[in-house]
């Protein structure tokens, strides 16, 4: 019983392996009283989740991050040109992706 109790959180968040999940579900089916423990764990997790701030950025903030990140990606993820033609190709790509 204790071994299965320890697996409740992993079962609820889906991090239990396939084999362990079916073993766990089989155990719950044969022990209906165990469902109350799962419910109490579920409630506890949902309480804890509500205590973590879930803040979304404002429209302006999101736009500003997107443009900053886009600029970083284009500046930092630059290939080194191996030939003159590649250099031209990259400049061309840079120009069309502006």
């Amino acid at each position: 019983m204790i071994a299965y109790e320890k697996k409740i959180t992993a079962y609820l968040d889906g991090s239990l392996g396939a084999e362990e999940t079916s073993e766990f579900e089989a155990f719950v089916l044969t022990h209906p009283e165990f469902e109350a423990k799962i419910k109490s764990k579920k409630d506890e997790i949902s309480l804890l989740k509500n205590m973590i701030p879930a803040v979304s950025p404002t429209e302006d903030s999101l736009r500003s991050m997107e443009s900053e990140i886009k600029a970083s990606v284009f500046n930092l993820l630059k290939e080194e040109p191996k030939s003159m033609f590649e250099n031209l190709r990259m400049k061309w790509e840079e120009w069309i992706n502006r």
């Binding site: 992993a10 991090s15 989740k49 950025p57 991050m65 990140i69 970083s72 990606v73 930092l76 993820l77």
Partner: protein
């Protein structure tokens, strides 16, 4: 990997990264800056492997897999920078932090990181171990501490 493909693959992560940053630093501008700094650090460190990587944007499974990998990679740098920054700014940030989350923000930044990775981003203990680069027993200890302190705070609120 082309720069455009990389950007398209990671763009949907920006909101999630901000949400995580805010759990570390409860200030709009600082959280925004943490996302950008984490991304820059990731790009600088992983540049070579990213340039070598090929990704087919039409293959949903491949994109999702890459996105998950990039998410963990960016979070790794954000955790590192964010914990230091959060400690440095702790006094200044006390004033502006949201009152409804005071229990959460009273936790140590390292505990906060692990706790939100576990319960908000829903990473497994193994994944958190990889992201924050601390041994598994420490991850479990921090989750346990956070849970204990938050539940304690909640119970105190009920009894008052």
């Amino acid at each position: 990997m082309k720069r455009k493909d990389f950007y398209l693959a990671v763009q949907p992560l920006i909101e999630k990264l901000y949400r995580f940053a805010y759990t570390l630093i409860p200030d709009d501008l600082q959280a925004e800056q943490l996302v950008i700094d984490g991304m820059n650090a990731y790009l600088l460190k992983e540049r070579k492997s990213l340039l070598k990587k090929e990704i087919d944007l039409n293959n949903k499974k491949e994109v999702l897999l890459f996105r998950r990998l990039a998410f963990k990679g960016i979070l790794r740098y954000m955790c590192d920078i964010g914990v230091r920054r959060s400690t440095q700014l702790s006094e200044q940030l006390k004033v502006g932090r949201p009152a409804e989350y005071s229990a959460f923000y009273s936790l140590d930044p390292k505990v906060r990181v692990v706790f939100s990775l576990r319960y908000d981003s829903q990473f497994t203990v193994e994944e958190i171990e990889e992201i924050v680069n601390v041994p598994r027993y420490e991850v479990i200890e921090k989750i346990h501490n956070g849970r204990f302190l938050l539940m304690n705070d909640l119970n105190q609120g009920v009894t008052l």
